[in-house]
């Protein structure tokens, strides 16, 4: 860490730099777990000179109650270079591959940060890799590689939303080596010839972002990373003021017999209504589905996902006020198992640099042997303030 800071100070004296710091304090009240106070923050730094640009994002989280929810992490640190028709980057980076709002089948470049919040899809760990992109007007072709498989921290024991019955060991088991690269090629195509649309195709070969959970002994569980071939398709079509979206994924498991090949489908639409009682209202309706090639094998949805045969309905109200106030309400309904997650979020700016935010989450679990069963019928309430400077 000292070396990193020293490097930053040195680079700072040589290059143009920009920063964005964020610090937040939150109170979390749970019905099933001990309440906690959280301090969190991030420092986003960007340096640039004539040769290249360096970006870094340092994050920290401190829980008053749960020791495992305390960390400081250099979540991104990468160097990039822009050419006329190409761009290159190398380092630890977060990418977003997605179209839908509730859950992204295709957002598989990074591992999720379940310690920060298992119900926040934007909570992710940076992945070490490199990529090169060739641009053709509005279209692009990207070749990339992930260079290292990181261990993943999980909520465990008495921390909120611990999904496992016995303690979790962060030791990662892999089918090859942690350094075995994962390659992908991605093509992005923008079209307005027949319909106004954008489509991204991704082919990936290497470790699956999803992992199996296997026993180390009678007393602990660990993750197992296996290799796959994966094909992904992300697309949206705009018709009038409605956006139709899809994310599709097919996974062929190469070298891990217990795990079934699987397909993930998701569809959604987004429709906005403007100037309704001085607010803008956007409605989202989405559906997610897993399909397994072999129902006798391990189903990934049983061990790491809740999004199978689920319908998501949400609305976002933008109040168009000077505080940028916003209210988001969403319900995720498992059609098959009759489980439900409800979430409401609100935020509003005060004194320009402070954002007040609150959230209510409710989990209704009615079935045995699902991931949500572990969380029982429970709810949480959060109120916090963020300072950005």
């Amino acid at each position: 860490m000292k070396t990193f800071l020293l490097l930053f100070v040195l680079l700072n004296s040589l290059m143009a730099y920009e920063h964005k710091f964020e610090f937040g304090v939150e109170g979390m009240a749970y019905t099933k777990y001990t309440n906690e106070m959280l301090a969190s923050g991030s420092a986003k730094l960007s340096f640039s000179n004539d040769l290249f640009q360096t970006d870094a994002n340092l994050e920290f989280l401190y829980s008053s109650e749960y020791k495992e929810r305390r960390y400081i992490l250099l979540n991104e640190f990468y160097i990039s270079k822009e050419f006329d028709e190409y761009s290159l980057s190398i380092g630890k980076k977060i990418k977003y591959w997605g179209e839908l709002e509730g859950y992204n089948v295709a957002d598989i470049y990074n591992q999720k940060n379940y310690l920060k919040d298992p119900f926040d899809k934007s909570a992710k760990y940076g992945t070490i890799g490199a990529d090169i992109t060739r641009y053709f007007d509005e279209n692009s072709l990207e070749l990339g590689v992930k260079l290292y498989e990181d261990s993943l921290s999980y909520p465990q024991n008495k921390t909120p939303y611990a999904p496992l019955p016995i303690p979790y060991d962060t030791t990662l088991h892999v089918s090859h080596s942690r350094y075995t690269p994962t390659f992908y090629i991605s093509a992005n195509i923008l079209s307005d010839e027949y319909v106004d649309s954008e489509t991204k195709f991704i082919l990936l070969h290497g470790y699956d972002t999803k992992r199996d959970i296997i026993p180390n002994s009678l007393f602990s569980l660990s993750q197992y990373a296996y290799s796959v071939n994966k094909a992904l398709l992300l697309s949206h079509i705009i018709y009038a003021d409605t956006i139709f979206k899809t994310e599709l994924s097919y996974t062929d498991v190469i070298d891990y017999e217990p795990m079934s090949d699987y397909t993930q489908l998701s569809f959604g639409l987004e429709k906005s209504f403007y100037e309704i009682a001085k607010t803008d209202i956007t409605l989202y309706a989405e559906y997610y589905r897993y399909i397994y090639a072999d129902n006798t094998k391990v189903k990934n949805v049983d061990i790491s996902e809740i999004y199978d045969d689920d319908f998501f309905l949400a609305l976002r109200i933008n109040f168009n006020d000077v505080r940028s106030s916003e209210l988001k309400i969403g319900v995720l309904e498992d059609i098959n198992k009759n489980e439900r997650i409800c979430k409401a979020e609100a935020n509003s700016r005060v004194f320009d640099s402070f954002v007040l935010h609150g959230e209510y989450l409710y989990i209704l679990s009615k079935t045995n042997n699902t991931l949500l069963t572990k969380f029982d019928n429970s709810s949480r309430f959060m109120l916090g303030v963020n300072y950005t400077f």
Binding site: K20, E22, D84, S87, I94, K95, Y96, G98, S122, T133, Y135, D137, E138, S140, L190, D192, D196, E198, H236, I238, A240, D241, T242, I243, E270, S272, Y274, E275, D280, N320, D321, V322, R323, S324, R349, D352, S353, V355, N386, T388, F389
Partner: protein, 248 residues
């Protein structure tokens, strides 16, 4: 006498200008900048006089079939680095993408929101777009009016876009410089909604650049001021500077 009358008639026919002619000439005064790079401050003031500040970097590229623009939010800090990329399509729906830096997401947004508030201000998306005269239908010959001792052309124009928030706009253009000075915008019900004032014109390389726009919503008593802190034209930006790759 007959000859004088005939000459006058010919002069009137020859020199009478339609509203569209005046609008085109006015547009020509502010066009030809190629590309521009500006830093602006937006002041939002509510009916009680409370004020909020927004800061933006604006990049623009002129195009014959519509301009392209990239807005980079600089302040408030929580919005910093949020980017809005817009392709104006004359006679069609514009295209817009929003870059959300917190989750590194490029999100396509529906561009039919012409009348929606821009950054919670009294400016709508159509108020801050290019003001290309081709986006409007002009009615009849131009009328000349006097306001506080100054002569203006009074233009009545109707937005072609059916998603516009306005039923009509009356724009006043000074008869000397052919620059828009103020206007009145009417809502879909035909009631006066906003008054707009253009001032602090600066001549850069032969092209007039407005450096202050004030818009007052007469219905909710709020007003917004957009001022240009820095402005450069013909800065050499090209199509690539407005492609989706800039959203990162």
């Amino acid at each position: 006498m007959k000859n004088i009358f005939l000459l006058s008639l010919i002069s009137v026919i020859l020199f009478a200008q339609s509203s569209e002619d005046v609008a085109r000439r006015s547009y020509e005064k502010i066009s030809g900048y190629g590309s521009s790079l500006s830093k602006t401050t937006m002041l939002l003031r509510n009916a009680e006089g409370d004020e909020n500040v927004r800061r933006l970097e604006m990049r623009k590229l002129e195009g014959t079939d519509g301009d392209k623009s990239l807005l980079v939010f600089l302040y408030p800090n929580d919005l910093k680095d949020t980017k809005l990329l817009s392709y104006e399509i004359i006679g069609g729906d514009d295209k817009q993408w929003l870059y959300l830096p917190a989750i590194k997401r490029v999100k396509r947004i529906s561009s039919r929101n012409k009348s929606g508030s821009f950054m919670a201000s009294e400016f709508s998306y159509e108020d801050i777009s290019s003001q290309n005269y081709k986006n409007y239908i002009y009615t009849g010959e131009v009328e000349t009016v006097q306001r506080e001792g100054v002569e203006y052309f009074r233009l009545l124009r109707t937005p072609k876009d059916k998603n516009s928030g306005y039923s009509k706009q009356i724009v006043y253009i000074d008869t000397k410089e052919y620059l828009a000075r103020f206007g009145e915008y009417y809502d879909k019900q035909g009631r006066l909604l906003k008054k707009i004032y253009f001032s602090n014109y600066v001549l850069l390389d032969g092209i007039y650049r407005v450096h202050k726009i004030v818009i007052k919503n007469v219905q909710n008593k709020k007003e917004s001021l957009l001022t240009w802190d820095e402005d450069s034209i013909k800065v050499g930006l090209n199509k690539k500077d407005f492609s989706k790759r800039v959203l990162r």
